[in-house]
């Protein structure tokens, strides 16, 4: 899985309340959620983001609530992949479970600016900043999680497991 797009970079501790404020959680429609993605952090984000773009952030991305609406909103607004220094754990598992690719890499985050063209190869863990001609190496995705991603998310994975048991 290779993703290529323009980077949108933000800072540390981007929480689920700014990713998708609770006032919009009276719906779970991905398209509705996508319209409000990151609204309290950057009102222009949803207008700027284009299909395939890459979200880049600092430490502890997605901290706070368990709301799966957060990764759903990010995925639905066209973001192909999130690169951060670290992820909050519930966000991490939610992203894996719904099949939103996420990559942890400190050096890459430090070496990418908003507007840079970035390419991420999930299989090899390679992150390339095409604008600045730099390459970074992320920790490999554990096989267990690759299997969930390959299945297309946890639901498909569990369906497969249930079939095996039957």
């Amino acid at each position: 899985m290779i993703f290529k797009g323009k980077a949108h970079k933000y800072y540390d501790n981007i929480d689920t309340d700014v990713i998708i404020p609770a006032r919009y959680l009276n719906t779970s429609d991905p398209n509705e959620l996508a319209k409000r993605c990151l609204e309290d952090l950057d009102k222009e984000f949803v207008n700027k983001v284009q299909k395939g773009d890459i979200l880049v952030a600092g430490r502890n991305f997605g901290c706070g609530s368990s709301r799966e609406h957060a990764p759903i909103a990010i995925k639905a607004c066209g973001v192909s992949c999130v690169v951060a220094k670290s992820f909050a754990r519930i966000f991490y598992r939610n992203a894996v479970n719904i099949g939103l690719p996420i990559v942890e890499c400190e050096e890459a985050v430090d070496g990418i600016e908003t507007g840079d063209e970035v390419e991420v190869d999930l299989a090899t863990g390679s992150i390339r900043n095409l604008t600045k001609n730099k390459e970074f190496k992320a920790k490999p995705f554990p096989e267990f999680m690759q299997n969930i991603m390959k299945a297309g998310g946890l639901i498909e994975f569990v369906k497969g497991e249930l079939k095996k048991d039957a």
């Binding site: 309340d17 009276n26 952090l41 502890n60 706070g64 609530s65 799966e68 754990r89 939610n94």
Partner: protein, 429 residues
Amino acid sequence: MSKPMTMSQKILAYHAGKEYVEPGDLIFANVDLVLGNDVTTPVAIKEFEKIGVDKVFDKDKIAIVPDHFTPNKDIKSAQQCKMVREFAKKYEITNYFEVGEMGIEHALLPEKGLVVPGDLVIGADSHTCTYGALGSFSTGIGSTDMACAMATGKCWFKVPEAIKFVLYGKKTGWTSGKDIILHIIGMIGVDGALYKSMEYTGEGLKSLSMDDRFTIANMAIEAGAKNGIFEVDEKTIEYVKQHSTKPYKIFKADEDAEYSEVYEIDITKIRPTVAFPHLPENTKTIDEITEKIYIDQVVIGSCTNGRIEDLRIAAKILKGRKVKKGLRCIIFPATQNIYKQALKEGLIEIFIDAGCVVSTPTCGPCLGGHMGILADGEKALATTNRNFVGRMGHPNSEVYLSSPAIAAASAVLGYIGSPEELGMKGDEE
């Protein structure tokens, strides 16, 4: 002889049917309870239906509590609650709690005896970590996890490393469980326990009530932790016997279990602590706040501090006093039982006489849902757990976090201050 393990490792190993699990291991484990609310369950229902099973794994081991936008704040939330209610009916979910019998989920489940020591609990709400106070492994997950667990009774886990907090000494003055956890988050930061377990032990636990422990475990997520867990003692057992008939199992950490860090904390020295906007780690003790921070709203309640002891402390301070003119003080008992107990003890009358408004249980104001939304530029002091940008309303509003004692005193003062400023000394037993 198996290798030494922490409390969390032991509970996870037991539920995965293994003798030993190591931090970093990825496992599937059987869960004792799966929780969801009116915000997270609708997403879970959609996912559950994709799996294609015709029943849930165990109708007695799922709890659904519509508490975020209830009583329904608008048509969309009413639709969401309807969806949840119909799901609960269709699959005969035993522990579905409707308005009138419900409460804020994390106060309600222990009160109903649904969680006991040794349980493995997952909930599609980040503050599910609250039940660690009972010596269970409980952690927040998302809706897809909830859906899969409702179908299979299992969830995947990465076994966490643990940080050990050895508490000693006794609480003094107005210090409460809330001050201890704010102190800890201030010390290690909002990602200080990222992916890890926070284990509490030491003779200092003796001076902590169960309500203190629920508050401390509740905010483990605010340090990034997977779970917070307390060693089980007589107080835990007494609480469980009063609330539950479920069999329980005590898992004690091995003496030589490995921890990534060990902190020794003298709780005698912890002073009332306030978290400043916009992160729970931005803490100052009440003595370090030199400027007067005037506030527009005080909120006392939530899954963090809406329990009976919290209301008793607030009432003690508000009794015979008035909320500062121009300030709104909103009080939320966390469950119907707590509400009733507060009525019996005359606390509700004290609140109303002081000029507070008392609400039915709801998570509403804590997450900027309803019942206390802040306008542009307003400041609130809340006993809730988060003070992120826009948490309680307008993105230009500010939330400060504190204990019920500080919140109640501040409601009277009009600015953030301590009951000591009102001439009240804290209890020293």
